[in-house]
């Protein structure tokens, strides 16, 4: 019960601080449009690279361009949502180093919520826009035997995927309590993760696929549910029902990340900076 009220408190604080940052951003409207455009450009380039690849080949790992675009759109949109919501968590190391984390600790709101909302950047909508555009392109061109179940699964994939990536952002920030200068490690799992998921699972070594299925379950963001929707073989010969696990996996990841965050904050409170 106490936990529920903390979550409510957290969401409330998150909403209020986010609103402040949006107004801050709008104080420099031109700059906002430039950085949003920049964000869009950056993410567009890596899809252009995929287009270039397909200008030389017809298939990649047994997947056609619309199928790869489907994977790309799901991964990129889910990541974009998580990045929008919690992307600023990567600033934690800096706030620990310059001591400004302390100002968050004396406020009557959960630090996680305050930190997640810190420097909230609407410019990150650029990535979501691009991911959705690719997804729409994929849906328009790809061959899928649609069933009601598959249709229902689509929004679930996006939300669960955002949840899984969100957990990675939180866990990464928790790690920065311990290693405050190593924020870049996080990039390997966030940006690296989404890049990997943009390509078909058949491209990668089995050990790598196993790793992102059973150890760091990024495969649940899109590979496992998307192969089911596409009617492609499910990686590692897993049964079809794994396609419906993403919500559970997301909840599990968030719970673990939350524990890691608490442990990190506790260690900060006992060691200082």
């Amino acid at each position: 019960m106490a936990d529920t009220s903390r979550v409510v408190d957290g969401l409330r604080a998150y909403r209020m601080i986010t609103a402040m940052w949006i107004r801050s951003t709008m104080a420099y409207r031109a700059s906002f449009f430039m950085t949003t455009l920049g964000n869009l450009t950056a993410t567009t380039f890596d899809f252009v690279a995929i287009l270039l690849m397909f200008s030389r080949v017809d298939e990649l790992g047994g997947y056609s361009l619309p199928q790869v675009a489907f994977l790309y759109g799901l991964s990129s949109t889910a990541f974009g949502l998580a990045d929008l919501a919690l992307g600023s968590m990567e600033n934690l190391g800096r706030r620990v180093r310059d001591g400004t984390l302390d100002t968050l600790l004396v406020r009557p709101a959960p630090v996680l919520a305050q930190m997640g909302a810190d420097q909230f950047g609407l410019r990150r909508l650029g990535r979501i826009t691009q991911g959705l555009a690719v997804l729409i392109y994929a849906l328009a061109t790809v061959d899928i035997d649609w069933t009601p179940l598959k249709l229902l699964l689509m929004p679930v994939i996006l939300v669960s995927g955002a949840g899984i990536f969100g957990a990675v952002f939180i866990a990464g920030a928790a790690f920065q309590f311990v290693a405050k200068d190593a924020s870049e490690v996080q990039n390997a799992f966030t940006y690296g993760g989404t890049t990997m998921l943009q390509y078909p699972p058949t491209v990668f070594a089995t050990e790598l696929v196993r790793g992102v299925t059973f150890v760091l379950p990024l495969a649940f963001v899109n590979w496992l549910p998307a192969t089911y929707v596409l009617g492609m073989p499910i990686p590692l010969g897993l049964p079809e029902w794994v396609a419906f696990l993403p919500p559970l996996v997301a909840v599990g990841c968030c719970a673990l990340a939350g524990m890691a965050w608490r442990a990190g904050l506790r260690s900060y409170q006992s060691t200082g900076n």
Partner: protein, 266 residues
């Protein structure tokens, strides 16, 4: 020469400064290695489908990946060199002090950036490359001359990279939102230097255009020298041409900026 010694000291300072970020360096090595792994697998799928794409065989393509990851920070294709500090100084107006220093502004920052790039090459470049060489079959030259030629091309690439970023940084004198512009240029540079896909794989007219842009002097040029895919002297000439053009442009921009600062009284 006295001034030569000054710039050497500045370069050593740049090297030392970046050498203090030990944890960040380790983190970077890890991240570049992970990205290298991901790229290797996608390239393998691509080259399986179409062997000898862009004139590379698979081993050469995989080698290209590790050269790219190893030079990522050295060349600062995605930003992260001294230019952000320079832009900050322009924004705050501290740059006026620099302009009146007896040292040459452009050479000063070039030296600092070369020092930084030198550290990134040793601290962040060697480890991912060795990892790649141990885990995958790379197409590496066995003769010392090619390696030496490669290092020469890397050095020129550092200068070209600085030339681009110096111009971007100086744009802060005229643009209200130079950061946004810098970001756009960096992303463009990242793509046009072949960090995602080798430039010789780019099709048709697009390929021909990107291969003449200054960014192709950054990664593609040294990689091709290492892979025996390009003649070192021709490559040097291409890189040198861009280095001269960019540094000259930077000098002109610097002159205009100085007049502007003097007119505005700093």
């Amino acid at each position: 020469m006295g001034s030569g010694r000054l710039y050497l000291a500045v370069a050593v300072g740049g090297f030392r400064r970046y050498a203090t970020y030990r944890a960040a360096t380790l983190a970077g090595v890890f991240t570049n290695t992970v990205f290298g792994l991901i790229l290797v697998y996608t390239y393998t799928a691509l080259w399986d489908e179409k062997p000898h794409l862009g004139g590379y065989d698979l081993a050469q393509a995989v080698t290209y990946v590790w050269v790219g990851q190893s030079l990522f920070k050295t060349l600062a294709n995605g930003g992260g060199g001294v230019e952000s500090e320079l832009m900050e100084r322009i924004r705050t107006g501290d740059i006026a002090v620099d302009l009146y220093r007896p040292a040459d502004l452009q050479l000063w920052w070039l030296a600092a950036d070369l020092g930084r790039a030198g550290f990134e090459l040793l601290g962040r470049g060697v480890a991912p490359f060795v990892f790649g060489a141990l885990v995958f079959d790379l197409a590496l030259p066995t003769d010392v001359t090619t390696w030496a030629a490669f290092l020469g091309a890397v050095l020129l690439a550092m200068v070209v990279s600085f030339g681009i970023r110096y111009l971007v940084a100086l744009s802060a004198f005229w643009l209200l939102d130079a950061k946004g512009v810098a970001q756009m240029v960096m992303f463009t540079g990242w793509f046009c230097s072949g960090m995602i896909l080798p430039l010789n794989v780019f099709p048709g007219a697009l390929g021909e255009v990107v291969r003449t842009l200054p960014w192709s002097a950054l990664l593609q040029a040294p990689a091709d020298v290492l892979l025996g895919h390009a003649d070192p002297l021709g490559t040097y000439a291409f890189q040198g041409m861009w280095a001269v053009v960019l540094l000259a442009a930077g000098r002109m921009a610097q002159g205009a900026a100085t007049r502007r600062v003097v007119l505005q009284g700093g």
